[in-house]
Symmetry: C2
Subunit: 297 residues, 2 copies
């Protein structure tokens, strides 16, 4: 079954009535599950996590944008987190039987719908239409207040909607990206320079694996160091590849892996891909995992 995750961010984390009105768009809907939502008072921001059928998710997200653009007024918004609109950012992440390309299509559909509401929209990450727009931080630079000028720059003409700011709602970034796997490998040394050196060899920017970002960290309590990695495309660069490359670099220093950590959520397929590698399992399917039979259709 096709399933997409969406993590829309709204610029309201203090007024819980308004938070309710927004999250209501995702509650008790067919083919959608509201996994979690976190209103943050300091950030004055609401992060919603929803999973479900792509069509149902798209409809609910568009509905939530309508609600948010009515009840949030950016002219009076204050908060610690950078933001440029009432609906600040809407990323689509493939979960099952979905490609990144399909998520890009969803981003375009939702982007167009938001644009039609009179709100300028920028497509980002895998949905970006120019190289400069891949990085969300670059798009958002200047924030709501700065966008009244920024939007006049031909380089920052929106992908959808009017080429002028919506005073009440600001503008919105809509994107598609892969599920990020946070994977840490702890080594039996306290020498941070070694973790740094290994991180540099493993990560893409240093000539390593295409979809790995990595840094070295010190774990003072444990007397160990850590190669802390983000795998930004677990399908193409798999967890086992990152682990094996860290091991291979660690051998240069006569070091080995003490243990590893997978932080946060992990798609089942990411686990299967690496288990199948180490155990040489041929043709293991997610549907063979008993728990997948219990998922709501």
């Amino acid at each position: 079954m096709k399933r997409v995750m969406c993590i829309p961010n709204y610029s309201e984390g203090r007024d819980l009535d308004k938070v309710d009105k927004i999250t209501e768009c995702f509650r008790n809907k067919e083919k959608i599950k509201l996994i979690d939502y976190q209103p943050d008072k300091d950030h004055n921001r609401l992060v919603v996590e929803v999973i479900g059928d792509p069509r149902a998710v798209v409809e609910a997200v568009i509905e939530s944008v309508k609600v948010a653009s009515e009840i949030i007024d950016m002219r009076t918004h204050e908060g610690a987190h950078p933001r440029m609109g009432a609906v600040d950012v809407v990323p689509f992440v493939p979960v099952s039987e979905m490609t990144t390309e399909e998520c890009v299509e969803l981003a375009n559909e939702v982007g167009k719908a938001i644009g039609d509401m009179g709100i300028p929209v920028y497509l980002y990450e895998d949905a970006a239409t120019t190289k400069e727009r891949k990085n969300l931080a670059k798009i958002r630079k200047g924030q709501y207040e700065g966008f009244f000028e920024k939007i006049k720059d031909p380089d920052w003409k929106p992908d959808f909607g009017p080429a002028q700011m919506n005073e009440k709602s600001g503008c919105t970034a809509v994107g598609a990206r892969f599920h990020l796997v946070a994977f840490n490998v702890n080594l039996n040394t306290d020498r941070l320079e070694i973790a740094d050196a290994i991180a540099k060899k493993v990560r893409h920017i240093g000539g390593g694996l295409r979809f790995v970002k990595a840094i070295g960290l010190e774990l003072k309590d444990k007397g160990q160091v850590q190669v802390s990695m983000n795998l930004v495309n677990f399908e193409k660069t798999r967890i086992y590849q990152a682990l094996e490359m860290v091991k291979s670099e660690a051998r240069r220093y006569g070091l080995s892996v003490v243990n590893t950590e997978l932080i946060g959520l992990l798609p089942l397929q990411a686990l299967i891909d690496s288990a199948a590698y180490y155990m040489q399992i041929e043709d293991l399917k997610a549907e063979q995992v008993l728990e997948t039979l219990l998922i709501e259709e």
Copy 2:
């Protein structure tokens, strides 16, 4: 969330109206999911697979026994599969947050309820009250027709219900057992005697792992042999232990593993346990697997 699997077998695989009446007990019920059911005409037998909340499963199973004992008449039953009652066998299998002991309790509860309907009940496998009753085949020996005599033997006094056969419904075996993991390891040789020798070293009966049953098989098409294993308690004897022991024995012959196969359903925890071993993952929880968030509560 506590979740149990039950795979009751009914002696009716031909009359689809009756099959419907039985499976109806598991349909559209709260906290239960009817995963699959297979009526078999040759066996004249219905196998139902259901997962859910232990209380809800127990109630639905008891309801199905009432229905089956009304609509099935063993006096006219014919079929290729050995059987001793209208409800032939009711095994409970722990799926999540359940121990075998808890499944034994469920088996006792359901056994008592069936006994109270006037049907003799034998507890088997982990629920067995004597060593002779662990093995279902031993209990069922003589089948429906033979049980009219067998039940008079003091050794075969039922665990619940009357000490005489129910003519219409026969008798029933109720048990608790672990989820069985079927795991095959293929080796780069066509010499069956080597697969046999390895199977003998790996299995419990030969001095190997406590919860492994194993045989050697020839894969003629591939020019390989296979160590075909059943892991009868994947929590205590883990998949990686079986694999590593096969590898270790194979080295004696200078052989290695070509690939492996996991057949049928696999509990997520079994996959996690082995992935965590090979990847040295500390404290990986099933709830971190994204798909578990989509399971119906």
